[in-house]
Amino acid sequence: MKILRKTLLAGLALPVLLASAAAMAGEVTLLFWPGPESEAMQKVVDAYNAGPGQADGITVKQLLFSRQGYFEKEQADLAAGSSEFDVALVTTYTLGRYAPFLDPIDTQIPAAARTEFAPVALQSLTFDGKLYGVPTDISVHFLYYRKDLVDRLLSDPEWQKRYAEIAREKLGKDLKPKAPDDWSWDDWIAAALFFSAADNPDSPTRFGTVLQMKNLIFNIMLWQATLVSNGGDWLGPDGKPTIDGAAGRTGLQVYKTLIDAKATPPGSISYEYPEANAAFQAGQAATMLQWNAAFNELNDPAKSPTVAGKIGLAPLPAGSAGHKSHVHSLGIGLNTASKNKAEAGKFLAWLATRDAMTVYAQAGGTPPVPAILKAMAATRPEFPLVGDHVARYGFVVTGGTAAYAVPVYEVLAEKFSAFWAGQIDLDTALKQAAEGMADRIKG
């Protein structure tokens, strides 16, 4: 019996000893999500560990949570006061929720270093006047289109005649083909109908576009250009939801018109980023509203032989308020519960340098540093456009960095995907969305 008791006590003591041995001095853990960003970040981490990290006596390592449900897991760990990681991924839309568990990094990132970054990127990671993350990636949306097809539309009288007929018949409007840089939402819808087999049996593509309509918050970020470009916003000056106004109505109908007309694949209702890319990559869709991150892969002849070299980029179609695009940043913030804050601060200070951001860009990231984006135009032709579109068309909806941002996105995704799928009508979707928003904002 004595042996049994000793064994049990030893068994209980073992995890405590192992846990205490795990905390190592001079080691900084970066919590990140797997994918292209973490692959690029690994190159940055390697560069730090091989260079400045040697002098600082610091080694940085990445800890990857799975991408599915990443933010929920990170939030739970931050809220629980976990010190298993020192620095972590932060985003514009989760900043308000994470800020209570993060340390501001204004002291670690000197003013001189900040001048390298696009001001909107710094603003998008600023909460209550304090900077909470080193911006590492900026995201903006483009209208992707097939240059070969649109060029022919702009030059072939037969195609132009058919385009005008479809616009008149389906939209009740007299429209002529224009260059995509000048498209309004109506021009885009007309082009999408023209390039769809459902309305034009001679169309070279099966679908005029491919929408992302799954019940997912990122799809609402993409959609909300239709709202803001028509003068809408989440909230009015009184802080109350205005999503159910005329702009929201117009924006929702843009998507609904396209899915009802079969100008986007019927499966769009369950599509998100990869499905839309697959459709465009296969040459089955003539246009697509998509994140800037997709261009590199779609324009790679090895990965996308059908469309590489044939892709044009334009701003998202214009509404009454002109062209608009949702913008957000990813960045790296400092965990309040970290036990290695001094070491983590040194790493963050280095991360904010042009050297580090250059390594990140060369490894596939999109750092919001205009000088780097311009310098890499030869290898990443979309980079200068990213900087340009962010500056000219970028917006962050009112409340887009608040603690209630994700719950609001979530309710919009649920109600609007239900409308697009035909489960509820437009009035119900807008009413329930506005009520849901008010409820989430109230908390």
Binding site: E72, G267, E275, A279, V406, A421
Partner: protein
């Protein structure tokens, strides 16, 4: 253990009285840490207003969270989906599993390797299965729509009309092997002399099945059905990966509802209250089933 030790082999009345506790201790500690503490914490949270910024300082609101959940149409929609989903897939798994047992039992007796092959689907994680089907159902690169289009079917399998059927079929394909395995074990335990005697008495295959096989399989069917029902009722992974609970809330199970309420909406109290209601319902069903089983075994 030490109960017979002592002078002359005489049993000392108090010797070894703590041995049982020592043996039970680790398990009791384990249960207290992994089940007891979370249960108490959940009970407190379900009766409190609590936020991520104040996990250690919940504010007492009594039954407010329960009232909010019970008044939420989305909660009842999720309960309805989970119940319908669980009933449909459990029935399908039992029917298919039993049919496979009857068809494959003679074959498996001779080729044991077939068993490993048949059990393969349930070795795959449900989330991974969701990712696999997301690829296979893709309109442009997926094999399933390609074959369906060849026979003139071009509807979206994850759209309003087909989403329920699609996610249910995936669940059935993954977990029918479990029903098959459980039912096969029970089937092989049926005494062969009973079947032989019936045949000698002139019973045909149908009569043997109806009078002997089926009655003896009922307990196994009930247990398998119960396990599969509980498991299917709390379905999450592959549905979340495939549809995100949509379109709208069309495929939102109770687990997805709880997850969304907790993490995405940050409404911790109502989410935990919904979990407690689910636990309560499970306990009631389990209690009724146990009572039925005990009555059956006594009879």
């Amino acid at each position: 253990m030490a109960s017979t030790a002592g002078a002359g082999g005489r049993r000392r009345p108090y010797e070894g009285r703590w041995d049982g506790l020592w043996l039970l201790g680790p398990m009791l500690l384990f249960l207290a840490a992994l089940l007891g503490f979370p249960a108490v914490a959940n009970l407190v949270y379900s009766l409190s207003e609590v936020r991520f910024t104040g996990l250690w300082s919940p504010r007492w609101v009594g039954l407010g969270n329960y009232r909010a959940v019970l008044a939420d149409p989305a909660f009842w929609g999720a309960v309805g989906f989970s119940a319908r989903f669980a009933v449909v897939v459990t029935a399908a798994q039992l029917l298919l599993g039993f049919a496979l047992v009857l068809a494959l039992d003679p074959l498996i007796a001779k080729r044991r390797w077939l068993m490993a092959f048949l059990l393969l689907p349930m070795m795959v994680s449900p989330a991974l299965l969701g990712v696999m089907y997301r690829l296979m159902l893709n309109d442009f690169v997926g094999v399933i729509p390609q074959y369906l289009q060849m026979v003139g079917f071009s509807d979206n399998l994850l759209g309003v009309d087909w989403a329920f059927t699609t996610v249910a079929v995936i669940e059935v394909l993954q977990w029918t092997p479990f029903a098959f395995l459980a039912l096969l074990t029970a089937y092989q335990a049926i005494p062969s002399d009973l079947v032989e005697a019936a045949r000698i008495d002139g019973a045909g295959p149908w009569a043997v099945f109806r009078r002997i096989t089926l009655p003896l399989m009922v307990p196994a069917l009930a247990i398998t059905g119960f396990i599969r029902f509980i498991d299917s009722f709390r379905v999450f992974d592959h549905i979340y990966v495939l549809t995100g609970g949509g379109p709208g809330t069309l495929t939102q199970s109770l687990s997805i509802y709880i997850y969304r309420t907790f993490f995405q909406q940050g409404r911790i109290g109502p989410a935990v209250a919904a979990s407690m209601l689910l636990l309560l319902a499970s306990i009631v069903v389990l209690r009724l089933l146990m009572a039925q089983m005990l009555r059956g075994s006594r009879g």
